[in-house]
């Protein structure tokens, strides 16, 4: 596999167009503001503050960084330069995904460093192990969103359509319980009693992340139903693997 070569090239490009700086700064500023507010008055534990930040910032950042990777490469012909060299199409995808994941993780790490510094300066406790666990789960969420975005955009050559599909997916992921409730009502209208709808909430990467956080004692968002704590981590892993496989399959069939 030659994906690390592609990933390094894409990371250089992301650094050259200041994406790393912009997204790293975005995470750092948000983390500073949240950490400051969380240490005023009633203290919110550091892992919960980070979890809340990552819940919103990671999907948005990962999808924004990733959604143009394939469509823009195909539309402009940049992908031809890469694929005229000895890289398979799946290596191209893996490299593009790894670079965007790394850029997102850079933001996540910046957020943790800044938030930890704010907590320490204000004399609040810093539970390092739990903070690192939140980091690991944030990384898993980022991987799932990157893979899902690649799967959605692998066959597209229009960046506009890619943006619509990607942000539609992110919106659906956040409002997934509402969508499920609507589906339940519609099905009931047809006389169909849907069972297990509550458990399906965890199928959304966002709610899977929230579910996984319960393992490290962060219960910021209730995931309804009777899904055991920690199943969300498996769901995120499944999203990563299955979505990347779908992306690779989709991109393999594209005529460049």
């Amino acid at each position: 596999m030659t994906w690390p070569v592609v990933a390094r090239r894409d990371l250089r490009a992301l650094r050259a167009d200041n994406s790393l700086l912009v997204y790293g700064g975005f995470f750092a500023v948000l983390a500073a503001v949240l950490a400051y507010n969380s240490t005023r008055g009633g203290l919110t534990p550091l892992p919960a503050t980070l979890a809340l930040l990552f819940l919103f910032a990671v999907p948005l950042t990962a999808s924004t960084l990733t959604h143009e990777a394939v469509p823009s490469g195909v539309a402009t012909g940049r992908v031809r330069v890469t694929l005229s060299l000895p890289h398979s199409r799946s290596s191209f995808l893996a490299g593009a995904g790894a670079a965007r994941l790394s850029a997102t993780l850079l933001g996540v790490v910046a957020a943790i460093v800044v938030a930890t510094a704010v907590y320490a300066l204000r004399g609040a406790p810093v539970p390092v192990v739990r903070a690192l666990a939140v980091l690991a789960l944030g990384a898993l969420l980022a991987a799932a969103v990157v893979a899902a975005t690649l799967a959605l955009t692998a066959r597209l050559s229009s960046t506009t359509v890619a943006a619509a599909a990607t942000y539609g997916f992110v919106l659906l992921a956040f409002f997934w319980p509402v969508a499920l409730n609507l589906a339940e009502v519609v099905l009931a209208g047809w006389g169909i009693q849907a069972g297990g709808v509550g458990e399906l909430v965890v199928a959304s990467p966002v709610y899977a992340y929230a579910n996984a956080l319960t393992v490290v004692g962060v219960d910021s968002i209730a995931t309804t139903g009777s899904v055991p704590d920690g199943v969300g981590a498996l769901v995120l892993f499944a999203w990563t693997v299955v979505a990347f496989a779908l992306a690779a399959r989709g991109f393999d069939g594209v005529e460049l």
Binding site: T2, V5, R8, R9, R12, A13, A16, D17, T76, G77, R78, R80, V81, L83, S84, L85, P86, H87, S88, E255, L256
Partner: protein, 307 residues
């Protein structure tokens, strides 16, 4: 051994047939010019060789490997200047080359490559600020990484000024001298004429001619043109020239005869003029250019198609 071999390749895009039952062989070590008007299917053929698109039917092999199944092995041994490529605007020329060098696990010197393609001062400039010609040179430098066994160049002269085009020809010749096979498509015929061992002409997805340029000239019947200036042009002189075997047409303008021949030697024509009482003041010959040959093949084909 064939460096490139296409057998019965057909490519359809919906109702449009881009390539129709194409058979093509490029031998190792030769410089093969792939000619055709816009939309003839040249780039589709190259895209099939690179596995950018897959044929509807037929087989394509490069360096003995299947173009689809063994695409990675092929791309390890070839250098490609693809059509419609785009550079990474924010990366420098050096970073582009480093990527290609890492990709091929080669040990080329980026500065030497840039020097060779004529942009030595551009190493640390971002490629987004390059002119089309400079981007083309950068793409050629990328293609040269790793001393490829086969160079596939799709319209390599695009965006190049005359000097750039000449330098491109020189590099193509040097690569062939090194032992590489060069397959390049172009619609700039003088480029092809200057360097190619053999030429294939593609028209509407079919290979309508394939030979050396000399062979194509002969087969197309475009012949050569002889311009003879005489002291006094008489009907007898014109008649005598028209009777020379191999002369296909004779045009007159004052004291100048323009004679198109197929196989007739110029001395036969000059002898006929003098035998008829004319005195040759001056003469010049012009061989049919590749433009003429190309027009003969593609126009004939158009006529056939419209008929």
């Amino acid at each position: 051994m064939a460096a490139i071999e296409l057998a019965g390749v057909t490519k359809r895009y919906g109702d449009v047939t881009a390539l129709h039952d194409l058979d093509l062989q490029v031998q190792s070590g030769e410089i093969y010019g792939f000619l055709g008007p816009n939309g003839a299917g040249k780039s589709t053929t190259i895209d099939i060789l690179l596995d950018f698109v897959r044929p509807t039917s037929g087989t394509a092999e490069v360096l003995g490997y299947d173009a689809h199944e063994d695409s990675l092995a092929i791309r390890q041994r070839i250098g490609v200047l693809p059509e419609g490529f785009h550079v990474y605007e924010r990366l420098t020329a050096r970073q582009h080359l480093q990527f290609a060098i890492e990709s091929k696990d080669a040990d080329d010197d980026p500065d030497a490559l840039l020097e060779r393609v004529g942009i030595p001062d551009a190493a640390d400039r971002k490629a987004g600020g390059f002119s089309k010609g400079m981007q083309q040179r950068l793409a050629l430098a990328i293609a040269l990484v790793g001393d490829p066994d086969l160079l596939i160049l799709d319209e390599p002269s695009t965006g190049l000024d005359p000097n750039g085009a000449r330098e491109m020809r020189d590099i193509i010749t040097e690569e062939a001298d090194r032992g590489a096979t060069v397959f390049f498509s172009s619609h700039i015929l003088e480029q092809v004429e200057a360097v190619c061992d053999r030429v294939g002409i593609l028209q509407a997805g079919e290979l309508v001619a394939e030979d050396t340029i000399r062979g194509l000239r002969d087969a197309a019947g475009t012949g050569s043109t002889l311009t003879v200036t005489v002291d006094e042009l008489t009907p007898g002189v014109v008649e005598a020239v028209e009777d020379v075997p191999g002369v296909t047409s004779v045009d007159t303008d004052r004291d100048v005869l323009t004679v198109t021949t197929e196989g007739a030697s110029k001395t036969d024509v000059l002898d006929a003029v003098e035998a008829a009482g004319g005195e040759v003041v001056d003469f010049a010959t012009r061989e049919a250019s590749l433009d003429d040959v190309f027009a003969a093949y593609t126009n004939d084909r158009d006529d056939e198609v419209s008929a």
